[in-house]
């Protein structure tokens, strides 16, 4: 009679367990646990986060990647300061920002070049939308063609205006809602400069025009975020403004809005918004996530409610945006592509100038 010793029992148990595990794993019945990737994505609030969450639900039907959202506070440039404070240990992986912020992030060398083997949808996005680094590597995944324009609420201002010079008339006193100069990276000042024959590099005429508006009491509110602008225009307190397509589109949902992007003596600003991936992110998961949003069908859904145009040529634009953007032959006449690399360098100076020269005037 054979006796069972502790050693033989242990050996048998281990061998049995090993065989059992091997047998189960071979046909794939048990797979080793793999932690799902986690992404921290920074996105704008309002319609941006709504549509992003909608698309995420669709994405997670085929992906285990977990996504946590954080919203931009104020302008998108604010995220740059947050990253700087903790770099290289930032918690963020994917950022939804726009051209000037892409420029700042690239200047700091914080972005990972786009892996085109994963972001296959980048191939069909026009090359001029994509921001590249000094080595010519593609650094961004553009999702929207967006813009900043003058406009007004037609219900409050039936006659409208033909030129922003008209805004100096007494009937516009206190009716203008404009961005703080650092919001929209100074495009408001550039627009005023263009009005008086200048541009971003010759902004002095613009400053003079803003001073005239401020001195005359035409500026009713200076906004620092999309939500603030949308709320301000919704109150009916202000009828004229200069803001981005997102702010105008949200206003246009409830009120008749006229976008003044074809004025004979001024221009509409065009730029791109989209994703970029920060160094230190789980790159495969981050690029797969971005690629999903860049898919033509998803790109159409993404932009449909933002008041922006898709970057995928086959995606349809919201029919309500008819006339908001330009046909190719109109670009030269009405569109303006600002030099954001230059504007990024003068923002600090313009901010100080606004504090010193404009705020005292608007306070009267």
């Amino acid at each position: 009679m054979s006796s069972i010793t502790r050693r033989t029992f242990t050996q048998g148990a281990l061998a049995g367990s090993g065989l059992a595990m091997g047998g189960l794993m071979a046909p794939g019945m048990i797979r080793p646990a793999v932690a799902a990737d986690r992404l921290m994505v920074v996105q704008w609030g309002a319609q941006w986060i709504d549509v992003s969450k909608q698309l995420l639900t669709k994405y997670q039907q085929t992906s285990d990647t977990q996504v946590a959202w954080e919203l931009h506070s104020g302008g998108a440039a604010a995220v740059v300061a947050k990253i700087k404070a903790t770099w290289p240990n930032t918690q963020y992986n994917v950022l939804s920002v726009w051209d000037p912020v892409f420029r700042s992030l690239m200047a700091e060398d914080w972005l990972v070049p786009v892996d085109e083997n994963i972001v296959t949808n980048l191939k069909t996005i026009p090359d001029q939308f994509i921001q590249k680094n000094a080595a010519g590597q593609k650094m961004t995944i553009p999702l929207s063609t967006a813009g900043a324009f003058w406009g007004y609420r037609e219900d409050l201002l039936p006659g409208g205006f033909e030129s922003i010079e008209d805004l100096l008339k007494p009937e516009f006193k206190g009716k203008l809602c404009v961005p703080y100069p650092i919001n929209l990276t100074g495009l408001f000042i550039v627009s005023c400069a263009i009005q008086r024959g200048g541009d971003e590099k010759n902004a002095e005429p613009g400053w003079e025009f803003v001073k005239e508006l401020a001195k005359a009491g035409q500026i009713g509110e200076i906004c620092t975020s999309n939500s603030e602008y949308i709320n301000a225009m919704a109150t009916g307190q202000y009828s004229v403004g200069f803001w981005n397509n997102g702010g105008w589109f949200a206003t246009a949902k409830n009120f008749p809005v006229k976008i003044m992007n074809r004025m004979p003596d001024n221009k509409g600003f065009l730029y791109n918004e989209g994703f970029c991936v920060l160094k230190g992110a789980p790159e495969k998961a981050a690029f797969e996530f971005a690629n999903f949003f860049a898919d033509p069908a998803n790109n159409e859904i993404y932009n449909m409610n933002l008041g922006s145009g898709p970057t995928q040529p086959t995606a349809k634009t919201n029919p309500k945006l008819d006339g908001w953007y330009y046909a190719p032959d109109e670009l030269g006449k009405h569109a303006y592509f600002a030099d954001f690399a230059y504007l990024g360098k003068v923002m600090n100076e313009w901010n100080a100038r606004w504090e010193k020269e404009i705020v005292p005037l608007v306070r009267g």
Binding site: A77, G236, E355, V362
Partner: protein, 285 residues
């Protein structure tokens, strides 16, 4: 038996936490304020020599005006909070029934739990140019569309958050005044108003100043209220600091503003504390 060694050693846990959390970041801030900023880059340039340029740029009269506005509007709000908070605290301590007292104290504490954003937007919607109380500004001689309305809204916003804080602080002060002193004065023939002014109010002065200091600190350091209802016309120094750190990434200039603001604020508070100690300490006992 006194054991000074034991008492001193009990301070260490707090010091170990406070030193790195408070003084460490302040030193970092001071160092940042001395770095030059390169346009278009984020933060200060660590490779260049330290400079006082960030402080020099703030020396203009325009920036002095921002400091003056911050301290002036903060002072107006604090004084109003004291003027409204004191009678409320007095009523709660001296006049209210136990049930009413509980209700009022709970209401004051309850308002502190309400989100500041909610309260500020409520004020904006109520007193804004299209709100039901839009005409309120006219009572003060301010046209509803005037830029001065922005300042009024900031004062109302600060008052809304400061008054409960001030009233709750003053409840303790008034409660500590022995009511028999008032009774004695009245029984000796002093009129009510004189009893109130010469006994209750006089003995409350240290508490009023303490509550004022708390309220004032809250007001002048506030970022959200001027940002939400200041319409971009009323900017506190905190807003300027925020824009520098958050929007234009000029950390050195933001740090210099923060240091200047801190030094001025500390000067004011130590001045007020000195005043309390030297002038009213005895009356408060």
């Amino acid at each position: 038996m006194k054991r000074p060694g034991l008492t001193a050693s009990m301070l260490w846990p707090a010091l170990i936490v406070i030193l790195p959390l408070l003084f460490g970041p302040l030193l970092v801030l001071l160092h940042e304020s001395l770095k030059p900023h390169i346009a278009g880059r984020v933060g200060g340039d660590a490779t260049s020599a330290l400079t006082l340029e960030n402080y020099a740029l703030l020396a203009g009269p325009e920036y002095a005006q921002y400091f003056l506005d911050t301290f002036r509007i903060g002072l107006i709000s604090t004084v109003l909070a004291l003027m409204l908070g004191y009678p409320m605290a007095h009523f709660i301590v001296r006049r209210a029934s136990p049930i009413m007292r509980r209700i009022l104290i709970a209401s004051l504490i309850g308002t502190l739990f309400l989100s500041l954003i909610v309260r500020i937007y409520a004020i904006s919607m109520t007193f804004g140019s299209l709100g039901p109380l839009a005409g309120f500004s006219r009572l003060l001689g301010i046209a509803p569309t005037s830029p001065s309305v922005a300042e009024l809204m900031v004062v109302l916003g600060l008052l809304n958050t400061t008054m409960p804080l001030v009233a709750l602080t003053l409840i303790g002060t008034i409660q500590n005044i022995n009511p028999r002193l008032e009774d004695a004065a009245l029984s000796l023939g002093a009129p009510h108003w004189k009893t109130f002014v010469q006994i209750t109010l006089a003995m409350s002065v240290p508490g009023i100043l303490s509550a004022g200091i708390i309220g004032y600190a809250f007001c002048i350091s506030n970022l959200v209220v001027p940002m939400l209802v200041g319409r971009g016309f009323v900017l506190f120094v905190s807003n300027l600091i925020y824009f520098r750190f958050s929007e234009v990434a000029n950390f050195p200039s933001g740090a210099a503003l923060s240091i200047v603001m801190m030094v001025i604020s500390l000067g004011i508070f130590y001045g007020l504390l000195h005043l309390v100690r030297t002038q009213w300490q005895e009356a408060g006992k």
